[in-house]
C-alpha cells in the first residue's frame, strides 16, 4: 500500500510512561467512584478528612490527575517516549472540548466576574474557541490531554481554594422567583468531580494506549466501562435504598422458634357436588415455627404489629389470574400468526397493533376495565378481583404475543421440514417441535410482562379498589371457594367478585392519600417502605420462578 504510514512493529520500552498513565487511569476511576458515592450520600461532602474538607481533598486529587495527564501529553509530544499519536485528536473531541470550555468561560465571565450581556458571550466564545483550537490543531497527544488536564486543574482548583465549599450555594438570578432554582454543593461538587474524572480518565486511558488506534480504543473502553458501572451502581443503589428503608419495618417482631407463629387449620374433605353431603373430613392444625407479623398479619386494633398479608395475597392472585388468562391466549395467537396466517399485510397490521397495545398507557386499560368489564360480572356493577385480573391480563397479552411470535420465528425451518418429511401433521409439529424450541423465549416475555403488571397501580384503582388497610381475615381465599352450581356458569367463586387489597394499590393509598393515619398506624412512612420492599421481593420472586422455568426449558434443548 503506497502512502500508508508505518510504525515499528516492536516498539521501544515505554513501561515508565505506561505506569504513570495507568496510575492516572486508576486515580480518575477512584474519583469517579467517590463522586458517585457522594451523589448517593454515602460520602458526605461536609465532613473533613485529615483536617481538610472533603471537597478540598477531592479537588487536590483532581488537580494532581489533571497535571499528570497534561504532563503525559507533553512528554509524548517532546518524543521522550515513543507513541503512535496521530496528527489531530479529531473534530468530535475538539467540538466537545470547545463546548465544555465555552460553558466554563461563560459561567465564569457572567457569574464570577459579573460581565454584562455582550461581554460574557464574547468571553465564552473566546474560551470556547481556545478549547476547540487546543484540541483540534496540535498533534493528538497534546490535543487530547491538555484540554482535559486543564479542565481537571480548573475544577479541582476551584474546589481546593474553597470557591465552592460545603456552604456554597448559587441561585441563578434569571429564573422567575416562583420557581426558585438553587444549586447546592451536595450535587454540584460530586457532579463536577464525576464529570472531570470521566474526561481525565478518557485522556489517561488514551495515553496508556500510546494514543493512535490503540489509544482511542482504550479511551472508548474507559468511557463505556465507567458509564456501565455507573448505571449498574445506580440500579443497585436504588434497590439497596428501598432495602435499607424497608428492612426494619418489614422485620418488626420477626421471631423464629417452635410454636411462635400463627396456627393454620389444614382440612381435606370429600364432598359430593350439588348435594352438600360431606363423605369425610380430615383436618389438623399446624403451628408455624416462624412469626413474621409484617407479612402474616393484617391491620387491626388488636395486633401488636400490623402487617400486609391481604395485599400480598391479592397481588399474587392478580398476577396468577392475569397470567392464566394472557399466556394461553397470547401463545395461541402467536401460533396462528407465525404458523398458519399467510405472511402479508394482515400479519403486519396485527404486529403494529400489538406493539401499539403494549405501549398503551395503563390507565387506558384501567378505563377499559372499568367501563367494559365491570358491568358484565355482577348484577350490581362493582369493582372486583376478577375485573382486576382480566384488566392486567389484557395488559400482559400484547407482550406475550410479541415475544412468543419472535421466539417462534426464530425456530429454524429445518425442524418444520424434518417433521413434515416424517409425515407428522402441522399441529403435532407445532406442539412437539416448534413450541418446545420456542419455550425459553416465551417464558422470557412472560417474565418481563409479569414484572410490569405486578407493580401496576392505575388500572387497579379503576377496577379493583379494595379496603385500604384490611385485617388478615379479609385476605382472598380463592382456592377454597370454588363452587359448583347447576346453572350456568356452573363454577362460581364469590371471592373473585369481591375486592381485595394489592401491594402497589395499598402503597399508593397509605402514602399519598394518608388513609393510614386514621387507621392507627404509628409510622405510616416506615409502613410504606416495608410495603415497597415486600412488593419488590414479590416481583423478584416471580422473576426467580420465571428464570428457573426458562432454565429448565433451555436445558432440555441444549447439550452439555
Amino acid at each position: 500500500m503506497a502512502g500508508a504510514t508505518r510504525a515499528d512493529v516492536v516498539q521501544e520500552d515505554t513501561s515508565g510512561f505506561e505506569a504513570v498513565a495507568g496510575l492516572t487511569v486508576g486515580l480518575s476511576a477512584l474519583l469517579f467512584v467517590l463522586a458517585l458515592a457522594a451523589l448517593f450520600q454515602l460520602v458526605s461532602i461536609s465532613e473533613t478528612v485529615a483536617g481538610l474538607g472533603t471537597p478540598m481533598v477531592l479537588g487536590a486529587v483532581l488537580v494532581l490527575a489533571g497535571i499528570t495527564v497534561s504532563a503525559l501529553g507533553v512528554v509524548s509530544y517532546t518524543g521522550a517516549y515513543q507513541t503512535t499519536a496521530r496528527a489531530s485528536a479529531g473534530l468530535v473531541a475538539a467540538g466537545l472540548f470547545g463546548l465544555i470550555w465555552f460553558t466554563i468561560g461563560g459561567l465564569v465571565a457572567s457569574q464570577t466576574l459579573g460581565l454584562g450581556s455582550p461581554g460574557w458571550q464574547l468571553a465564552a466564545l473566546l474560551v470556547g474557541t481556545g478549547g476547540f483550537a487546543l484540541t483540534a490543531f496540535p498533534p493528538e497527544d497534546v490535543g487530547s490531554t491538555l484540554p482535559a488536564g486543564a479542565l481537571a486543574v480548573f475544577l479541582g482548583g476551584v474546589l481546593v481554594v474553597g470557591a465552592i465549599g460545603p456552604d456554597w450555594s448559587w441561585a441563578p438570578a434569571n429564573f422567575p422567583s416562583s420557581q426558585q432554582v438553587t444549586f447546592l454543593p451536595g450535587i454540584v461538587v460530586p457532579m463536577a468531580v464525576l464529570f472531570s474524572g470521566l474526561v481525565v480518565g478518557w485522556a489517561a486511558a488514551k495515553a496508556y494506549g500510546g494514543f493512535g488506534a490503540r489509544g482511542r480504543h482504550l479511551g472508548a473502553y474507559m468511557l463505556i466501562y465507567l458509564n456501565a458501572g455507573a448505571i449498574i451502581a445506580t440500579l443497585f443503589g436504588l434497590v439497596a435504598f428501598v432495602f435499607m428503608k424497608g428492612f426494619s419495618p418489614m422485620t418488626r417482631g420477626f421471631e423464629v422458634g417452635l410454636g411462635v407463629g400463627p396456627a393454620t387449620h389444614l382440612a381435606f374433605a370429600l364432598v359430593i357436588p350439588f348435594a352438600d353431603i360431606r363423605l369425610f373430613e380430615l383436618g389438623y392444625t399446624v403451628v408455624w415455627p416462624v412469626s413474621w407479623p409484617f407479612v402474616m398479619n393484617g391491620v387491626s386494633l388488636f395486633n401488636e404489629y400490623n402487617g400486609i398479608w391481604p395485599a400480598i395475597i391479592g397481588t399474587v392472585w392478580l398476577v396468577i389470574g392475569a397470567t392464566v388468562m394472557a399466556v394461553p391466549l397470547g401463545v395461541g395467537s402467536a401460533v396462528f400468526l407465525t404458523e398458519y396466517a399467510e405472511r402479508g399485510r394482515f400479519t403486519k397490521v396485527v404486529e403494529v397493533a400489538t406493539n401499539a397495545l403494549w405501549s398503551t398507557p395503563s390507565i387506558v386499560f384501567g378505563l377499559f376495565g372499568a367501563a367494559f368489564l365491570i358491568p358484565r360480572f355482577t348484577p350490581q356493577p362493582s369493582r372486583s378481583l376478577l375485573a382486576g385480573m382480566l384488566t392486567l391480563g389484557f395488559m400482559l397479552l400484547p407482550l406475550v404475543v410479541i415475544t412468543a411470535r419472535e421466539a417462534m420465528l426464530a425456530v429454524p425451518d429445518e425442524y418444520r421440514d424434518a417433521s413434515a418429511a416424517l409425515g407428522v401433521s402441522k399441529w403435532q409439529t407445532i406442539r412437539s417441535v416448534v413450541l418446545p424450541a420456542a419455550m425459553p423465549g416465551i417464558v422470557t416475555g412472560v417474565i418481563l410482562g409479569v414484572g410490569r403488571i405486578a407493580g401496576e397501580t392505575a388500572p387497579l384503582l379503576l377496577t379493583m379498589t379494595g379496603d385500604t388497610l384490611p385485617d388478615a381475615g379479609s385476605a382472598v381465599k380463592v382456592i377454597n371457594n370454588f363452587q359448583l352450581t347447576l346453572s350456568p356458569p356452573f363454577v362460581t367463586n364469590p371471592e373473585l367478585t369481591r375486592t381485595t387489597a394489592a401491594l402497589p394499590l395499598q402503597l399508593w393509598q397509605i402514602i399519598l392519600t394518608g388513609t393510614g393515619q386514621s387507621s392507627g398506624l404509628d409510622d405510616i412512612d416506615a409502613f410504606g417502605w416495608g410495603t415497597a420492599l415486600v412488593l419488590l421481593i414479590v416481583v423478584l420472586s416471580f422473576y426467580a420462578i420465571g428464570i428457573a422455568t426458562r432454565q429448565y426449558f433451555r436445558s432440555k434443548l441444549k447439550y452439555e
Binding site: 425442524y415 421440514d417 416424517l422 452439555e560
Partner: protein
C-alpha cells in the same frame, strides 16, 4: 414401461440442442425413454412441470424410478433436481408460490390428486435433507418421534396407565433403526443425550435412522453428504448402497464421482429445468447420448 404421448418438441429445446450424432434433444429423449431397467417401477413421473411464480423450474419431466435401487439425480445448481426430488413426496406443497402440474405415481397411485393423505404419503416416501437437522431432543426421542406421532408406539402417560406402553417395542425400534443407519455402535451408550451433541456425520446418519424408523419404502436424499467431510461421506455412501437392498433410494448430488460410485441409474438435469438424459449409470458416464451431458459429466462445463 408404459409408452405415453409426449408433447411435440418446442422450438426452445431445438434451439439449444447439440448432440453427439447430430440428433435433437427430443430424439435423444425418445431413445432413452425406451430405457428399460431390470425390476419394477416404484415411482412413475409423467410430464411434470413446476413453476415458482414466473420461473419455470421444471419442464415436462418424465421418468420412471425402479424399486430397490439407487437413482442419482445430477446437474448444475439451479437445474431443478432438488425441486424434482421434493415433488416426489409433495414437500413442494409447503412452498406457497410453487405451482405443480403433471403426474407422479407411487406404486401406481397418483399422488397429485385431492384425496391424497399427505401423512401416509410421507410415511411411505421419507426424506433426508442437505444439512443434518436432528430435533433438539435426545437421540432416542429423535428416532421415536415419527412412530410416536403416528401412534405406532405408545409411550405417553395414558399408555403407561392403561398398560399399553410397550417399552420393548420402542427399544427395539431405536436399536434397529440405528443399526440400519450404521450408527448404533457409536451412540448406543448415549441414547439419552441431546442429538445436537453428535458430530455432523453422526447427525446425518441419525436423520437417516429417524427416517427409517417410520418404515418408508422410498427414501429421498437431497445432497445428503455435501455438508460432511470425506470420511463421513464415505460412511453415508456405504449406507446408501446397503439401503438399496430394501428401499428405493433417490439421491440428488453435485458430486459426479459420488453418483458414479453409488447409483444404479443416473438422471442428468441441465440448466433450464430439463431432464436431458436418463440411463444406467455406466452408460451416462461412459457413453452418453447427448453432447451436453458428455460435456457435463466430463467436467467441461457446469
Amino acid at each position: 414401461m408404459s409408452e405415453t404421448e409426449t408433447e411435440p418438441p418446442t422450438s426452445e429445446t431445438d434451439a439449444t440442442s447439440t448432440t453427439t450424432a447430430g440428433e435433437t434433444d427430443e430424439e435423444i429423449r425418445e431413445e432413452w425413454r425406451q430405457f428399460d431397467f431390470a425390476g419394477q417401477a416404484k415411482i412413475a413421473v409423467e410430464d411434470l412441470d413446476v413453476y415458482y411464480g414466473d420461473d419455470h423450474a421444471l419442464k415436462g419431466v418424465s421418468m420412471d424410478i425402479p424399486e430397490e435401487s439407487v437413482t442419482a439425480l445430477i446437474g448444475p445448481s439451479g437445474c431443478g433436481k432438488s425441486t424434482f426430488l421434493r415433488c416426489l413426496n409433495r414437500m413442494n406443497d409447503r412452498i406457497k408460490a410453487a405451482e405443480i402440474n403433471g403426474s407422479v405415481c407411487v406404486d401406481g397411485e397418483e399422488i397429485y390428486q385431492d384425496r391424497v393423505d399427505l401423512v401416509e404419503l410421507r410415511k411411505r416416501v421419507g426424506m433426508v435433507f442437505q444439512a443434518p437437522n436432528p430435533f433438539p431432543k435426545s437421540v432416542r426421542e429423535n428416532i421415536t418421534y415419527g412412530p410416536r406421532k403416528h401412534g405406532d408406539i405408545d409411550t405417553g402417560l395414558l399408555a403407561r396407565l392403561t398398560g399399553r406402553r410397550d417399552e420393548g417395542a420402542a427399544e427395539d425400534l431405536v436399536e434397529r433403526s440405528l443399526r440400519q443407519a450404521a450408527l448404533w455402535d457409536e451412540v448406543s451408550d448415549r441414547l439419552d443425550d441431546n442429538a445436537l451433541g453428535l458430530s455432523g456425520g453422526q447427525q446425518q446418519r441419525l436423520c437417516i435412522a429417524r427416517c427409517l424408523a417410520v418404515d418408508p419404502e422410498v427414501i429421498l436424499m437431497d445432497e445428503p453428504a455435501s455438508a460432511l467431510d470425506p470420511i463421513a461421506t464415505a460412511k453415508i455412501e456405504d449406507l446408501i448402497q446397503e439401503l438399496a437392498e430394501d428401499y428405493t433410494v433417490v439421491v440428488v448430488t453435485h458430486n459426479m464421482q459420488q453418483a458414479a460410485r453409488i447409483s444404479d441409474q443416473t438422471a442428468v438435469f441441465l440448466t433450464g429445468g430439463e431432464l436431458v438424459e436418463y440411463d444406467d449409470t455406466d452408460e451416462i458416464f461412459q457413453d452418453p447420448e447427448s453432447q451436453r451431458v458428455e460435456d457435463y459429466v466430463s467436467g467441461k462445463f457446469g
